[in-house]
């Protein structure tokens, strides 16, 4: 059972929730840039949240299904010939046409049973800098054939059969993606970074007073922010330290960079802030040109925000499981 890529769109890769436990040897976890949308897409087709799905970025693909397949597209609002954020049973031979993202930047196309590429170090995520994981460790191309699980047709039909409130080949409800911003600039909560106090007062203010624009050279490794240049009061040498998803570094050119899914695990640039983990997935829903505003907060607030988004996700996952009669 397969799915064929007729037109690849932009930067389409296979992603799950990443490979953990290897950061001490320099390998970041990687995985879906928006793990919340990826988890929902999987739940919508009856999968566990961590199955491998296709990550679409800004411009979607055309795909052809070999057999009947239960799919769900969740995340950014892409123009597509299937309804978003809900399970859809597509007939063999269907051509799935996905265009531009009208709102948000990334969405996940999940299929019943998941994309059946070989796991590498416990994950099917594509790690582009290392060239492994996913399909050949690379972005998908025209003509690629994605393996689905052996019994994906029977699995798809059986799962669709279990759904309660159906309408034609889909359902009468949907699961909103939770991370796609309603308006911009998107407010990102940040903790002061290790080197925040070493920035000059004007830069400290500018960091939280400005509206920052995501630069064109942003990718799965990091997002660059265009705005005022930030400078340190003293440009003393910094020992390389560990970094994290959402760390905001400021290299000597003064342009802040937020570390995203495929980030380096250590770094020698001063760290001005750490984005609250609750807000990183929302940042991932912005493409180049998107705008953000940094709001400094305490660790307690960041923890509370994370608890809130995890609860909201859990509620949605339980609701979807109920529709499947679980």
């Amino acid at each position: 059972m397969t799915m064929r890529v007729l037109r690849p769109g932009l930067l389409m890769t296979v992603q799950d929730l990443g490979r953990h436990g290897h950061q001490h040897v320099g390998l970041c976890p990687g995985g879906a840039m928006d793990p919340i949308a990826a988890s929902l897409a999987n739940a919508l087709v009856g999968n566990e949240p961590g199955e491998a799905a296709l990550e679409l970025t800004v411009l979607g693909p055309d795909l052809e299904l070999e057999r009947d397949t239960l799919v769900a597209l969740c995340g950014a609002e892409f123009e597509a010939n299937l309804p978003l954020n809900r399970p859809v049973l597509l007939k063999a031979g269907t051509r799935l046409g996905i265009g531009r993202a009208a709102r948000g930047a990334r969405a996940y196309l999940a299929v019943a049973g998941g994309i059946a590429v070989e796991p590498v170090l416990g994950s099917r995520s594509t790690y582009l800098p290392g060239g492994f994981g996913g399909l050949g460790g690379r972005t998908l191309r025209r003509g690629d054939i994605l393996p689905l699980v052996q019994d994906s047709r029977d699995l798809s039909r059986e799962r669709f059969g279990r759904l309660k409130r159906k309408s034609g080949n889909t359902v009468r409800w949907s699961a909103p993606p939770q991370t796609v911003p309603e308006h911009e600039p998107v407010v990102l909560h940040v903790l002061d970074g290790q080197h925040f106090p070493s920035f000059d007062v004007a830069s400290q203010r500018a960091f939280s007073d400005s509206v920052w624009k995501i630069g064109p050279e942003s990718n799965r490794m990091g997002f660059r922010f265009e705005g005022p240049k930030l400078a340190r009061a003293e440009d003393d040498e910094i020992l390389s330290g560990p970094t994290c998803l959402g760390t905001v570094q400021v290299p000597s050119n003064g342009t802040p960079i937020a570390l995203m899914a495929d980030h380096q695990t250590t770094g020698g640039y001063p760290k001005i802030a750490e984005i609250a983990s609750a807000d990183v997935a929302r940042l991932a829903q912005l493409g180049p040109g998107g705008t953000v505003h940094f709001a400094r907060c305490t660790l307690d607030t960041a923890v509370e925000l994370r608890r809130h988004i995890l609860e909201r996700l859990e509620t949605a996952l339980r609701g979807i499981a109920w529709e499947y009669g679980n």
């Binding site: 953990h20 436990g21 290897h22 950061q23 001490h24 040897v25 320099g26 390998l27 976890p29 590498v120 170090l121 790690y127 800098p129 290392g130 492994f132 994981g133 290790q194 910094i238 020992l239 390389s240 330290g241 560990p242 970094t243 994290c244 380096q264 695990t265 250590t266 770094g267 983990s277 660790l299 923890v303 994370r306 608890r307 995890l310």
Partner: protein, 196 residues
């Protein structure tokens, strides 16, 4: 830092997904489902690790021997390095291969180990202009450290040799040749040995 990282890692706390030592700090990466007090947990883990006792330095890391061919075709910067240090190229090689190194930190790319212990007489700054691509396995020096490039990437370190070993292979059981705190020795090999 390496000893503390190892002691924390050895506790195998299920709440922690990654324990990452670096020169300027130690990172504890929590499982996102963790709902307790982060700071309290981190402090108590470190405290318990300290109470249990840190492993002696000699027990941190493994012994890793890296064969290196220092022939000119693999060492584009060796002649210039020798000129800048006012040494013969053979002497640069001898001192580099005689050293015992410690992996101080891994970062920049998977398996990319920053190793301390370079003979102070070999310390010099990075190249003014980084090379657009340094081949995988290249052995390079800068300041008082040495590195081995795991992938063909751009880099500004002074390349003085190359190893035939694969530094990072995701398909291996232990993907990275180097781990934090490893003790590393370089062994000079001939071009024939390199090609084998």
């Amino acid at each position: 830092m390496q000893r503390l990282a190892l002691a924390v890692y050895a506790r195998k706390e299920p709440e922690l997904r990654d324990v990452v030592p670096a020169l300027g700090g130690l990172a504890l990466h929590f499982h996102p489902q963790f709902t307790g007090d982060l700071v309290q947990f981190a402090l108590s883990v470190v405290q318990r690790a300290l109470e249990d006792g840190l492993p002696p330095p000699a027990e941190v890391g493994r012994e890793v021997e890296v064969p290196v061919c220092y022939a000119a075709k693999f060492a584009p910067d060796l002649a210039e390095v020798a000129r800048r240090l006012k040494l013969e190229p053979e002497e640069v090689v001898r001192r580099h291969a005689a050293g015992e190194y410690r992996v101080l930190m891994i970062g920049f790319a998977p398996g990319h180990a920053y190793m301390g212990g370079l003979h102070p007489s070999l310390a010099l700054s990075r190249r003014a202009t980084p090379r657009p691509e340094v081949p995988a396995g290249s052995v390079a020096i800068a300041n008082e450290q040495t590195v081995v490039y795991p992938y063909a990437i751009s880099g500004g370190w002074n390349v003085i040799g190359r190893t035939p070993l694969v530094i990072f292979d995701a398909a291996r059981e232990e993907p990275s040749l180097f781990g934090p705190g490893d003790r590393v020795r370089f062994r000079a090999i001939t071009e024939e040995e390199f090609l084998k």
